[in-house]
């Protein structure tokens, strides 16, 4: 029974010598080609530079102040902190706009955090955005912080929107179900896990 995500979650473990070889090869490549898609640590490429320069904007302002270099996600966290300090009701539409602006500027960690925050608070457009960023039938690495689609996440968010009767989400749940059926036939473990949730 190779069931569900059983083959997904754990990478095979190899002999340490094998890994040591890989590290040496990686270092050589790094020195000559040095690149980091997400700019999480270390030297940065152009895109990451933009991310790191993204900073907190003032409320009600869609422009991003690029003067202070901070790490990805910090800007969003400051907005969330400031929003929480101000108290409810939160300006979800404004925060959603900030998220869009971050996304447009390539600050994917900040946009993801803000979408996540507003989606958790029930903002429908943010919920759909969270779903789309994970949907295996819609996935685009350029718009998502994630390196790959995540059907379980997509289903969770679509389902949230579908439960309030939002028709595009209801359609997307059906679409995702069909994707899971087709992919499960081909042995896709993510699809199998999704099907178990859907049953």
């Amino acid at each position: 029974m190779s069931t569900l995500s059983e083959s997904i979650l754990i990478a095979p473990q190899r002999n340490p010598l094998f890994w040591a070889g890989l590290v040496v090869a990686g270092l050589i490549l790094f020195i000559f080609l040095g690149s980091n898609r997400n700019g999480l640590e270390g030297p940065v490429d152009k895109k990451v530079s933009e991310q790191e320069q993204a900073v907190v904007s003032l409320p009600n302002n869609e422009s991003i102040d690029r003067n202070l270099p901070i790490s990805p996600g910090m800007g969003a966290r400051k907005i969330i902190e400031s929003t929480r300090n101000t108290g409810k009701p939160y300006p979800l539409i404004e925060i959603f706009k900030h998220a869009k602006a971050y996304q447009k500027n390539g600050s994917l960690a900040d946009s993801h955090l803000l979408y996540f925050f507003t989606a958790r608070e029930g903002h429908l457009e943010s919920i759909m955005q969270m779903a789309l960023m994970s949907d295996p039938t819609q996935f685009s690495a350029g718009n998502s912080l994630l390196d790959q689609a995540d059907a379980v996440q997509a289903y969770k968010w679509y389902q949230k929107a579908a439960l309030v009767g939002y028709q595009p989400a209801i359609d997307s749940v059906q679409n995702l179900r069909q994707w899971a059926l087709d992919e499960a036939e081909l042995g896709n473990a993510y699809a199998r896990q999704l099907l178990l949730n859907l049953k």
Binding site: I8, H112, L113, L146, K156, Q193, L196
Partner: protein
């Protein structure tokens, strides 16, 4: 008066408390606060009322999971659950200690080599360490052919057909494990216990068996749909039974296998020309004699008219076969339904029994009868096949083994006949095996087997027939003349494919109870909620995680001391659960340190959360799918019901 009532109430409370306290609990494992000692029963295990072995209570389904309540010299008192419901005493030698509850599930061997089981760890280890693929391949080819000598290091091999553990629960207990490297990949050597499955016996073995007959008897009662479309299959059934009778005579088992036959049609109020709803043709008693069987069965002919729709009253035929047959003389009891139509369920006004598939199955189960279904799938009723198959699978489901349903395309008379012969012969071989005192059930040789869909399905059905309780039998290949086969054997295997060590040949699983899974899900859900907050507002995350640890830990006092270091991981902080504590796995959630969480970027934190959420979603789905759970000893699904969860899916 008031005083008297108070006294009575107090007395009642004391009585209830005492009786509650008097309930037995299983023995705890050494050093554990919540984990009970467990064993598995071997195929020869029997339950007794007391350790003196004077009153035999019952047989035990092989490889049943049992909790240990008491120990007395060579005996242990056991129960199927941990709630104090003891079942009886069993000899220690008839059990396998199984505290870690680790088991193996085999992957489909269609695209991967079957797993070989070695008689000693040393021989396997030498092969693994040298990573000698040529030597391994040579052993594999010999093992598959069964071409082995007495010093051959492989004693058994994984069955050829695949059994999906989600549909057909089985256990291959792991007794020991050891980490090794196979080439560049990390792998595990596993010592497992299994039950042997041997090749078809030689003619001399059969004669020897017949000479020491122990009067073990099998009764096979056919229930045949005798409506108009069934003509060719009625004839082919006669032919198949004639062949099996010949085989029975050859093996000297004349009185030990008996056939009966009941025909059924449909509601005669609706279509009077059908003549009858149910008509018994041969009883099992009459069917012991081949002449009597055919004298009666030759009268059977299909109806001249068609019934009303694609359903017929199969349940009426089965109910009659179960209730009107004297099963007492038979140790193994089978009803084989042969039909090309769906059944009339409990809500169908034209049905006579008003029984559901589940209710009818229970009726059979209460009498120790297993129902098998050979469904002839007509093209004209294709739209109903899925529903019909689902009902017949439910009807033929046997606890601990799985369903006995086999679908054949209607035009394939030969395939139908072959399946019938194979299954009837297999039952005969079981009689022979039991008579001989040796558990041997033949599977077709691989060389004969074309791996087309039909033969693969037949192999799967045969393995289910050959399965023994919860034990998945391994094809036993080591032949030592004069020595009987063991009822259980221990062997060593490696969990990775020798040819391609990146691929696993098995999943290592831990048998969790539903209560344990529920606890795991609850704790991980709380961790996830904190992590979600921690991703958005990291300031209080660490402190919140420490506070939560104190509430979810089984030993809060120990937690207080262990969480001070920033290098502490979630397991140290008190999130570890006893039931997964000592297992051979490294889970990223339990190993998460506060230091590493703080050092991670938002992206890495989010990815971690998604993986955690994926596991929690799996736990929830698994918990809710009650059809996947097995209750030791039978009965409804409860907190003691079990499912083998892959180690890879632990947090």
């Amino acid at each position: 008066m008031e005083k008297l009532i108070k006294s009575l109430l107090l007395g009642l409370v004391i009585l209830c408390t005492n009786s509650a306290l008097a309930t037995e609990t299983p023995l705890l494992m050494d050093g554990k606060k919540t984990l009970y000692q467990r064993v598995l029963s071997t195929p020869d295990a029997r339950l007794y009322e007391s350790p003196e072995a004077s009153v035999l209570l019952n047989e035990i389904l092989p490889f049943s999971v049992l909790y240990v309540y008491q120990k007395k010299q060579d005996w242990i008192k056991v129960g199927y659950g941990s709630f104090g419901d003891t079942a009886g005493w069993v000899q220690r030698a008839q059990t396998i200690i199984w505290n870690q509850a680790l088991t193996v599930s085999f992957k489909d061997p269609q695209n991967i080599q079957r797993v070989m089981l070695f008689d000693s760890k040393d021989k396997l280890q030498t092969l693994v360490e040298s990573y000698d693929t040529e030597a391994y391949q040579a052993l594999y080819e010999s093992a598959v052919k069964g071409d082995v000598g007495s010093d051959f290091p492989v004693i058994a091999i994984q069955p050829e057909a695949h059994i999906d553990i989600r549909q057909d629960f089985y256990l291959v207990p792991i007794k020991q494990h050891e980490d090794v490297y196979l080439g560049n990949e990390q792998a595990r050597l596993l010592e497992i216990a299994s039950v042997p499955l041997q090749d078809e016996p030689s003619h001399t073995t059969a004669i020897a068996a017949s000479q020491k007959s122990r009067s073990y008897r099998s009764g096979i009662h056919f229930v045949i749909d005798s409506t108009a479309s069934m003509g060719p299959y009625i004839n082919r059934t006669r032919e198949a039974v004639a062949k099996v009778y010949s085989a029975i005579e050859e093996q000297g088992l004349n009185n030990q296998v008996s056939f009966g036959l009941t025909a059924y049609r449909d509601n005669i109020d609706q279509v009077p020309e059908l003549e009858y709803l149910v008509r018994p043709y041969v009883s099992l008693k009459q069917g012991t004699d081949v002449k009597q069987f055919f004298n009666h069965v030759n009268e059977l002919s299909p109806s001249d008219v068609s019934s009303r729709d694609f359903r017929e009253d199969a349940y009426a035929g089965i109910k009659s076969a179960i209730e009107d047959t004297d099963w007492n003389e038979f140790d193994a009891r089978y009803v084989i339904l042969i039909t090309d139509a769906g059944p009339r369920e409990s809500h169908d006004s034209l049905g006579s029994t008003r029984l559901s598939a589940q209710a009818l199955r229970q009726l059979a189960y209460d009498k120790g009868v297993s129902i098998w279904v050979l469904h002839l799938r007509a093209q004209s009723s294709a739209a109903n096949h899925e529903k019909t198959e689902s009902l017949y699978k439910e009807l033929s489901y046997y606890p601990g083994i799985g369903h006995f349903y086999y679908g054949v395309q209607l035009a394939e008379v030969n395939e139908f006949g072959l399946v019938l012969e194979v299954l009837a012969n297999q039952i005969t071989q079981q009689v022979l095996a039991t008579t001989n005192g040796v558990p041997l059930i033949p599977l077709r040789e691989e060389t004969e087997t074309n791996l087309d869909e039909a033969s693969s399905r037949l192999s799967q059905l045969q393995i289910r027939v050959a399965k023994l309780g919860n034990a998945l039998r391994m094809r036993y290949i080591q032949k030592k003349s004069g020595e009987p086969l063991p009822t259980v054997f221990n062997a060593w295997m490696v969990d990775k494919d020798f040819e391609n060590p990146e691929r696993s040949t098995v999943d290592v699983r831990v048998l969790l109870t539903r209560d344990q899974l529920s606890d795991l899900k609850s704790v991980m859900q709380q961790v996830l909620e904190l992590a979600e907050e921690g991703v958005l507002s990291p300031k209080s995350f660490i402190e919140d995680l420490k506070s939560l640890a104190a509430t979810v830990s089984l030993d809060p006092s120990a937690v207080a001391g262990s969480t001070s270091g920033s290098g502490a991981n979630l397991a140290d902080m008190g999130y570890m659960r006893e039931y997964i504590e000592d297992l051979p796995y490294t889970g990223e959630v339990m190993n998460l340190t506060l230091e590493s969480w703080e050092a991670w970027s938002a992206k890495v934190q989010i990815e971690f959360m998604h993986r955690l959420e994926s596991k929690i979603t799996y736990y929830q789905a698994l918990h809710d799918h009650t059809d996947l759970w097995v209750t030791p000893g039978g009965g409804p699904i409860n907190g003691n019901s079990v499912f083998p969860v892959s180690l890879d899916l632990l947090p």
